[in-house]
């Protein structure tokens, strides 16, 4: 009888410990894993899983009661469509996820943030109360749509201001700029008209015009001919890797060789080099990630084990996971199912309180409108690799 009692006590203790260890904090990720921009979602998922794995191997995340919980990541494919993005965030809100990281596309982020409650504690606003911490969608100024939305994406305004200023001192002979814009992609379009073009003119360059194409275009002969006729010193391409490569190949075919070639920040990825390393040789792109620090190299290597590539977007997802770990611990998230909404609110408030966060390139400042002011570098495609050309900071 005594043996049975001891066995029972031991088994209860073991199962109790097992139950305690089984406590998990669920973090949902979502983005485009299919379609023309699928690589962004694939890489973000890999980075989230890799970062969660590192945290879990270090013991997990400390909860309000002092216990440790593992982080579980579930990633959803929104196919870069607004309707599916909205459906997914409602689905995530119905799970035990305390925060969502995503989306990939700015045209998904806009409606998604729109269905969130605009101002916290506004009882008259029935919008969804779910914190979203964006890693990829980079079109300027989106987080201001809702106080539940946060972003850890670079400020293109700051980066291209700095780039054109630097180019002015480095290439004083260059006077004119010509743009190429992926017209039907919200981010590319906003990047050219509201950022690159504006920043070039602000730095004394004469903008000669721009050519337009669409995300699914595959023939760029006319656009590159316009570019050739403009004969500008600098060509700035506001397009994602797929059409950037198409344009670069056409530029090579037509013999268009500007003094300086500038790319969109989202194109500072492996996709560009895999698609057209030869034609992209020399292109300069400002980016908020390059594996130049010990932490950056580790993040890139760990993400690679999860079949993802490290770039400014996927590494933002990596950073988000560690920022969220800190917020969970500092805000004393309970991890209890019956306090799910309270935990989500703690995450929101914790993210809103942050003045700065630790990033892979250094300290990222947080702005009042829930955006990030991230450190950045200028990288250049050189022999099939991205090499750091200049560190303006």
């Amino acid at each position: 009888m005594k043996r049975i009692a001891i066995a029972l006590a031991v088994s209860l203790a073991v199962s109790g410990a097992a139950l305690a260890q089984e406590k998990t904090i669920k973090i949902a990720g979502f983005g485009a894993k299919t379609g023309a921009v699928r690589s962004f979602g694939v890489n973000s998922e890999a980075a989230l899983l890799a970062a969660a794995d590192v945290i879990n191997k270090q013991g997990g995340v400390r909860l309000a009661d002092g216990s440790k919980a593992k982080i579980a990541v579930e990633f959803y494919d929104d196919r870069c469509t607004a309707e599916e993005g909205i459906s997914i965030i409602r689905r995530i809100a119905g799970t035990e996820a305390i925060v969502a990281v995503g989306p990939t596309c700015s045209n998904v982020a806009e409606p998604l943030f729109g269905i969130l409650q605009k101002k916290v504690d506004d009882k008259s606003d029935s919008g969804l109360q779910m914190p979203i911490f964006t890693d990829v969608a980079v079109k300027g100024g989106l987080a201001k749509i809702s106080e539940w939305s946060f972003r850890n994406v670079p400020s293109e305004w700051t980066m291209y201001s700095s780039l054109f200023y630097w180019l002015k001192t480095r290439n004083p002979g260059a006077q004119t700029v010509y743009g190429g814009v992926e017209e039907d992609f919200a981010h590319s379009r906003a990047s050219w008209y509201a950022v690159m073009k504006d920043r070039a003119e602000a730095n004394g360059y004469k903008v000669l015009g721009n050519s337009k194409w669409l995300l699914n275009d595959s023939n760029f002969a006319t656009q590159v001919r316009e570019m050739k006729n403009a004969n500008a010193d600098i060509v700035a391409i506001a397009a994602h890797p797929f059409t950037t490569c198409g344009v670069l190949k056409e530029m090579q075919r037509q013999g268009v060789k500007p003094k300086v070639l500038i790319g969109l920040t989202s194109s500072s990825s492996m996709e560009t080099l895999q698609g057209c390393a030869k034609q992209a040789e020399g292109i300069i792109i400002p980016t908020s990630f390059a594996p130049v620090t010990k932490e950056g190299k580790f993040a890139a290597e760990t993400t690679a084990k999860f079949k993802g590539a490290a770039d400014l977007h996927s590494m933002a997802a990596w950073e988000n996971m560690f920022i969220l770990k800190d917020v969970i611990e500092s805000e004393k998230v309970s991890g209890n199912k019956d306090q799910l909404q309270a935990d989500r609110r703690k995450i929101r408030d914790g993210l809103a309180k942050l003045k700065e966060t630790k990033g892979l390139l250094g300290i990222t400042k947080r702005t009042e409108d829930r955006e990030a002011d991230k450190p950045y570098l200028f990288v250049q495609a050189t022999k099939g690799e991205w090499k750091v050309l200049h560190d303006p900071l």
């Binding site: 459906s87 017209e183 919200a186």
Partner: protein
Amino acid sequence: MDFYYGLAQIVGVHTLLGLSAYIVLLTGQVSLAQAAFFGIGAYTAGMLTVLAGWHIVPALGAGAVVGATTACAVGFPALRVKGLMLVVATLAFGEGVRLFFFNFDYQVAKGGIKVGPLGGEGFRQIRYFPEHGWTTGEVMVFIWAFVLVAMAALWWFDRSRYGAVLRAVGEDELAAQSVGVNLTAVKVSAMTVGGAVAGLGGGIYAHYTTHIEHSNFNVLVATFALAYPIVGGLSNVFGTLAAVIFVQVFLIEGLRDLGDWRNLLFGALIILAMNLRPHGLFGRRRA
């Protein structure tokens, strides 16, 4: 539960989109302009609630009226052509409308910020529902009230003399004309009703997504609009509803966890469904 309410909202809006093509298909016409009427309704209703401060119901009504008027205006010249020529004509019109919205800027300052359509960047903050405290369930009921009215109206049309005339034109134009049916009037009226239903659906779409842009009304949406009644069958309005549920709930949402396989299965399952039910999910075999 909100997720399921949200899903029901999507099904409701897509049912309206499909029904707008259904009535045109009854006359034997294939129109790729439904996405354009959908977009016109979306921008009209969105602008009326956001910029003019209208209540949602008259704004949706206005979206339907503008959609119907445009469809009627397009119907007269477009329906003079048949078959593939009509497909091309309506496709061109749809792309024209999409490009119009791509370049359409009309912003006014409201509460310290500029609101309204902003060309390629779209039209954000169409937040009538959350701003008025509507829960997801209430929005779903609201949407389905319109869907049921539209379905009931089309059901009634279908069983009336008007429906018989539509189907007669769809079956054999020459025979219909030979018994005195005015083909232009029938086709244009079907197009107009379709435009009204699409405009209504678009208005609702704008308000449940809170953000619209030109790409929401592209040829893919027009293709979906046509696919719903074709996959569902033209026997009655329930075929369209069944097809929307099949596509939106089963294929898109139900298979989401399959990742990359979902897109492959998506096409394969539609082909399979059309092979197993060549006259549509709710279609009847002809004698």
